[in-house]
Amino acid sequence: MSAYPVAILFSRSGGYSRPAEQGYFGALAAVADINADASYPFKLEAHHADPQGNADRYAALCRDLIRNTAAQHVVGCTTSWSRKEVIPVVEKLDALLWYPCVYEGFEVSENLVYIAACANQHLVPLLDYIVPRFGLRAFLTGSNYIWGWETNRIARDILHRSGGSVLGERYVPIGDEDIAHLIEEIRAKRPDFILNNLIGPSSYAFLAAYRALGEEDAAFKPENCPVVSCNLYENEIGLMGPVAAGHYTVSSYFRSLADRENSLFAERMKTRYPERVADAFFVQAYASVIMIAEAIRRAGSDDAQKVLEVVRTHQIATPLGPIKVDRATNHVSLSAHIGRARPDGDFDVVHSCESPMAPDPFLTATPLQRSYAEFAGATPKLRVV
């Protein structure tokens, strides 16, 4: 039986290892599932390299993985910064990078498949849900790199065009936990909600300090002024415990999504990784490997271009739903669910979009002037019950 190499490029150490490791385990879980499934006439061989959260290590490690293992497919990268480093490598070696994390958009590479939401599939539905319920005045935070800068810029653009305002915008270096100044500024400016684009320990420190602020002043309790995120999922919420409860995240996947198929999948992953939660970071990497395997089976080859052609022409069943890659953008249609964090680390799904949303990485088909004003103007602050 033939075996196809699959390169796995996630940082199991460094400043954002917690979400990055989810990708690692999600990819490995799918490799194990494929290898245990007799209907696939081949095995997958996972080859992992750990860039340790250092953006400068990604390109070299990716090149080594492809050259040394002859892998045509790389599943990896968590931050946009690292993805930008890897693009020239996969383009030059004509491999495919399967990128399984939400990102800010404004990118299409022929050698990338984007198996997660871009801004029209995360930030836009998140604001559409939050603004009419909490108000038009936002405070923007982020870790100091492209994800936060660009996601906050889009939020600012949307709010300004839609009658809203931005009371402040602050960044901290990746990994920095010194966020007291942020809390002070929020206390002084009293926004309606906080858009959180911090990652890793900065995000945990911020939510802990913000919980303390809410205990001093009820205006900053989550039911009055929530922290809303596009990439803060169960695995990290669970780590933080009750400090994140009541805050909101938008995602294409939540473990608590109620359909039967997902319940079975979630149960199976829980048994396999009792100490781990299969959240969006995990499931998107899992779905990437499933798509690679299914496409190899149909193509009879792991050739990057042949596999790409299959995933562009066939819907493939994944825990994210059936997925077909959009030929023009190499992105995928995805659902947007709004989750409110519970103290136990899971989310209550409080809203879901009606049908999967087409990807719009350059925001050319998404009106940025949203109809918020009529809601927020007509009703004093709605309280979510």
Binding site: E91, F106, E107, V108, S109, E110, N111, R153, I154, R156, D157, H160, A328, T329, P361, F362, L363, T364, A365, L368
Partner: protein
Amino acid sequence: MGPAHFTPNFVGWRALILHRPHQNVDALLAQCARIGITGEQAWPMLDDPDAMRVFNVLLIDADMGHDEQMPWPPGRAPMPIVALIGSEAPGRIAWTISHGADAQLLKPIGSAGLYSALVVASQAFVRRRAQAEEIALLKERLSKRQVVAEATAILMLTHNCDARSAFDELRRAAMAERRAIEEAAEGIVAGFQPDGRKNVTSGR
């Protein structure tokens, strides 16, 4: 040109790629489709300037392009220009600059680059056009400095006041007539009769 947080949108734009049929053109057409632009290819000559009006941006070939392809003199294209550069020979780059290329894409064209080139070229084009208009206006004002000085002198004489009060009066008159100061000054100079009789504009 919007504020820094503004998301550029090129939906509905038409781009003309002045380049022989080539893989690079195919890559550009794919990038066009992705950002909502209709791309068309032409080679070797462009149509007359009127037919060119439908295009929002022109991509020119730095490697094989020449002045005679264009229906307008160098630097007078009525739209933003992006240069497609293969050979980075200074002479070729200078040629694209002479035609007003404010942004470049290096060959081989891959899957990215057009979006940023369009943002840069379109904003530079708008800025350059606004600056040209402003410079023309300033030049005209400059050429009329003499008439403003004359009108001020006339008002000093007829109102028996100092230069500052006379100029304030001139400015008030221009505002009242909703005209530029230079135009109001021309009126005063034209209406002045050196025998000391007061004219309509400045008379009181």
